[in-house]
């Protein structure tokens, strides 16, 4: 019994961190935010060359043959870097869903493209038809009731709209759904997609919360008021300590969820509910602490902090709120306790 990632996974993480540090500086992010819908990715090819987008694609289709547990640290890095790409959708949901649902033709057509990092995927699993990267994706995975559809770009009608985080490139979408797009019917396939989305987003949020904590810590050590660095004020120290605690708690649950999904344990869905709820809470606390402890400067467009603040709030709402996940968890847990 050993609960930690292994050396190879940490090394992969370091490699991804190195690429993201080099290719996605805050200045790069700023440029992307200014470009909005017009942005075309320069960081993506670097991630492809590391094999990140195709990591979960089966080896038979040219991928890395990995499992969610291999991806978890990399997603934390992507969250930390505020990566403006639909990485969870493309590198996690899509390969998992295609591997378990759809036809051989779907697999043969798309898995190699995913393995090669040549396709970007968006998802639309809720009721709303507002889709991040909806106008940019090569395919959109769409839930319609109990059906899961794989909709190629030619059958997506997307109207770009302005969001407060322009790097999410929101689009109002309509889809031409039909027998040709149907991937699977039944709650099981939908659950695979939703679990993957919630888990992946939770991992992004843990990385993002940690980044906010680190950035804020650095600011507290630099900013002086009343003749001393403000990081020496106990109320500020304790506030950031609480964020750190929540982040590590969430990370622990996210790691477990990665394991549960990789092993398809019976409690995998439960593990995902806990991971996303805890990651939401950690990101929430980090968001509030980061802006408050930065003071006015953090509220300016000119300062970089808001990239993480805006992205964080969006991800808190994506793939299930805290309340939604806890309500679902309660249903599972309490069914065994109170019969």
């Amino acid at each position: 019994m050993h609960f930690d990632l292994d050396d190879l996974q940490y090394e992969f993480r370091d490699a991804v961190r190195k690429v993201l540090t080099a290719e996605l500086s805050p200045a790069d992010l700023r440029a992307i935010w200014e470009q909005g819908h017009d942005y075309s990715s320069t960081v993506w090819p670097h991630l492809v060359s590391l094999g990140l987008p195709g990591l979960l694609v089966p080896a038979a289709h040219g991928g890395g043959d990995g499992a969610p547990v291999d991806l978890v640290l990399l997603l934390e890095e992507c969250g930390s870097a505020c990566l403006p790409e639909p990485i969870v959708e493309t590198a996690l949901i899509a390969p998992l869903v295609l591997s378990r649902a759809g036809t051989d033709q779907h697999r043969a057509e798309w898995l190699p493209r995913l393995a090669a990092g040549e396709a970007i995927v968006a998802t639309c699993l809720g009721e709303d038809r507002l889709v991040p990267d909806g106008a940019r994706a090569d395919a959109v995975l769409v839930r319609q009731g109990d059906e899961l559809h794989w909709v190629p770009r030619s059958q997506v009608h997307a109207t770009p709209v302005q969001g407060i985080d322009p790097s999410r490139r929101l689009a109002e979408c309509a889809f031409d759904l039909g027998p040709d797009t149907l991937l699977a019917t039944g709650p099981e396939a939908v659950r695979v997609a939703q679990d993957a989305g919630a888990f992946g987003t939770a991992a992004l949020l843990v990385g993002l919360a940690q980044r906010l904590t680190g950035t804020t810590r650095d600011y507290l050590l630099e900013r002086r008021q009343f003749g001393r660095v403000i990081g020496s004020f106990q109320a500020l120290k304790h506030r950031l300590a609480d964020v750190a605690v929540q982040t590590e708690a969430a990370r622990s649950l996210v790691w477990y969820a990665s394991y549960a999904l990789s092993e398809s344990t019976p409690d995998a869905t439960r593990a995902v509910h806990m991971a996303k709820a805890a990651a939401n809470e950690a990101a929430f606390a980090a968001n509030y602490a980061a802006l408050q402890l930065h003071g006015g400067i953090g509220f300016t467009w000119e300062h970089d902090l808001h990239f993480w603040l805006q992205r964080g709030k969006a991800l808190e709402r994506s793939f299930g709120s805290t309340t939604q996940h806890r309500a679902a968890l309660a249903d599972e847990v309490l069914a065994e306790v109170w019969r």
């Binding site: 709303d128 003071g295 006015g296 309340t323």
Partner: protein, 384 residues
Amino acid sequence: MDLRLTPAQTDFRDEIRTWLEENVPTDSFPPPSTEEGFARHREWERALHGARFAAVHWPVEYGGRGMDPVSTAIFYDEYLRANAPARLNRLALGLAGPTLIELGDADQRSRWLPSMLTCDDIWCQGFSEPEAGSDLAGLRTRGEVSGDTVLVNGQKIWTSHSRFADWIFALVRTDPEAPKHKGLTFLMIDRHSPGVEVRPIRQMNHQADFAELFFTDVEVPVANVVGGIDNGWRVAMATLTHERSSNLNTAAHFHQILGEVLALVPESLRDDPLVRLQVARFHEEIEAYRYITLRTLSSLSVGRQPGPQSAMGKLWWSEMQTRILEFGLQMLGERAELLEPTPGEKSALVQSYWLSRASHIYAGSNEIQRNIISERVLGLPKGN
């Protein structure tokens, strides 16, 4: 304790209500940041002034009605109820004017007060500085007094309404050798003087409510000093005291926000006990704020020192407002990130939300508020 209006208050309330019913424009103005909007707002302000409603809390001799804080609050309740236009010259009427009335000399009063009422001059505030955020007394903008002139150099930040301001009331350091709270001077600076530059601050919520002010060798007459050279800290504290009766953030205002948020709750969640408990809590908190405020206004109106609650209002409303807006965003779900209002929204909630987050920082950060409460109300030691 009597929450009914006195006969005098009833008369006043009726007068306002009638006048507003007859005069509030039926269309909504463009924002005052536009030329047309500014003109229409000023026209409205002049109409208010014509009815002697521009500054009801000012003494009669200066164009007000000498209303006590409770009656002033009655005025603003009616004003909000009538959905009247936002006020144009808040910082003049609420802060600069009362400071002049309290501590200015006769010349200064006659020079500036009338144009505040008519909005011929719009005012903004120059207190905050980049390096002196929570530590107001740590400000660095220099004012060198020589002869009849104060030469101002430095930078101010977080001034609101500054884009169309004519005057700035500012704190500058005139004696750099003196201890931090000493050697400051309260100065009225003509915004159109050579050497004054205004740069709007673009905010993370895509708006620009605030600006930076840069001063380069700006010459200000010594006659523009209020309350004496090197006596600025005392004057500034008097100014900030007027903030608490500024009547902007009333319970009625927060009920309006809550109402906008409630309109966004989807049918399917209206019976959800958690949603209902949260709404009840918001309602309770707004009402608590109503009576916190009314306790303070009541004491001030009879000339008593207000109780401990008078130090708590800003902390209370700022955190409450953010909770309400955060709840509103949850109700919007994924649409919460849209920059344009979605159906049901009056304006994009997400923008108000971030502005609300900023309110935990401005006007004395909430950490400073907690320091003040623990030290002044509870008597715990200063420092740390």
